[in-house]
Subunit: 239 residues, 2 copies
């Protein structure tokens, strides 16, 4: 946790924000802060700066007060990430990476090779997804929560939603076959579609291409989704 | 496991290699292969191709025979990676990523901010390190085991060993401060030094720079080591 991102819903009074149990543990155990210490904090979806720490008491949570928030959040990546729902044990890490790297719009999509059971996983509950994203923000010293959606039906998304998303953007379909090499250091905003382990099936690839996406590959090495995400994002937008 | 990497030490006779328990489980449970099926295999530190599967019996391990190994392993990255020893819970994943991405020379180094206890972790046993590396190779369809060394003493490494490693190579020290932006898509081989969480201390930075390394940064976002490795490797050698 390189930045403590304060939650407006935990506002005690103006300029005073209670800490979550997770943040309190980090401040007590890792930072080992004392009453009155000035800590680096940000406001969720807001600016970054400093605040004064007040430890918890028997009848009150620890909190941050006397905020001075002056810096904007770091730049976002100009990318919309549409990825097949990863297996639950990879999802949390992948979500944290996505948030840490500055993606602000995410769609988790069904695909023929995504096991139906993944959609029942508790890690898909809103609280769990937003906690993983928040941990990524706190790691990367960002405050802006990515917008995310679960898309359990592939076809309506690529047929009805994708064309709007693609307006004024490059559309890149990460796919090992029939593809040119993925571009490097592009300037334009893009929509990036990442397949499941085993890839999109033929029908799905056809649908992506129909919608105007271009198929690109990453070379002969096959990487785990949790590795492919940082690899692709840093390749497309290294700056 | 996208490639079954056969271990020469498990050779039953020429052209016949026993499967490890881990590989056997994958073939039985995931691939669900039957006797006589042709599987994609490679020979550790050798070529890649196909072999015929023979399931285990009561008195014999499962094995692969009638190998036809025709393709070379994928290209290696022209990089020597010198990184501060990561915390044990991150080490396995980081090692697998490093191997999957094609690094072939790795030094895990002590730093002032590496907890001494990390050096006692069971994940530093040779078997454990090489298993994590092998899993990365099998993920990326590579066969060439990276050379790796544990460097519990920082100073002799940077003073005596590093100058030789740097011959005809660019030396890049990933460091958040006093640095220019990390280059993109370089053509030359390089030595890349990655610090611990919290970074190298001033003495260590001085030593790296003295040896001829150049300090580079990755922007304002601070990423976990398991994320920084794929980000940096794909930024330096995207092709």
């Amino acid at each position: 946790m390189n930045l403590i991102v304060l939650d407006p819903n935990l506002s005690l009074k103006p300029d005073q924000f209670a800490l979550s149990a997770r943040q309190q543990t980090h401040i007590s155990k890792v930072i080992k802060a004392n009453q009155g210490d000035v800590l680096r904090v940000g406001l969720l979806n807001g600016k970054i700066g400093e605040g004064v720490y007040e430890p918890p008491t028997d009848d009150q949570l620890g909190y941050i007060h006397s905020l001075s928030l002056t810096s904007p959040a770091p730049d976002a990546l100009p990318i919309i990430l549409a990825m097949a729902l990863p297996r639950p044990k990879m999802l949390k890490r992948t979500l944290s990476n996505i948030a840490a790297m500055g993606v602000k719009e995410l769609y988790l999509i069904h695909s023929a090779k995504v096991e139906k059971s993944y959609w029942q996983s508790p890690v898909l509950q809103t609280e769990s997804i937003e906690l993983s994203l928040l941990e990524g923000l706190e790691q990367a010293k960002d405050t802006v929560m990515p917008k995310w959606s679960l898309i359990p039906r592939f076809r309506p998304f690529v047929e009805d939603k994708l064309p709007d998303l693609l307006k004024d953007k490059v559309g890149l379909l990460a796919h090992p076959y029939l593809a040119k090499s993925c571009p490097i250091n592009i300037q334009e905003p893009c929509v990036l579609a990442l397949g499941p382990e085993g890839g999109w099936n033929e029908f799905e690839v056809g649908k992506w291409l129909e919608a105007g996406m271009e198929s690109v590959h990453l070379g002969e090495r096959i990487l785990k989704v949790e590795t492919v995400v940082p690899v692709l994002l840093s390749r497309l937008y290294p700056a």
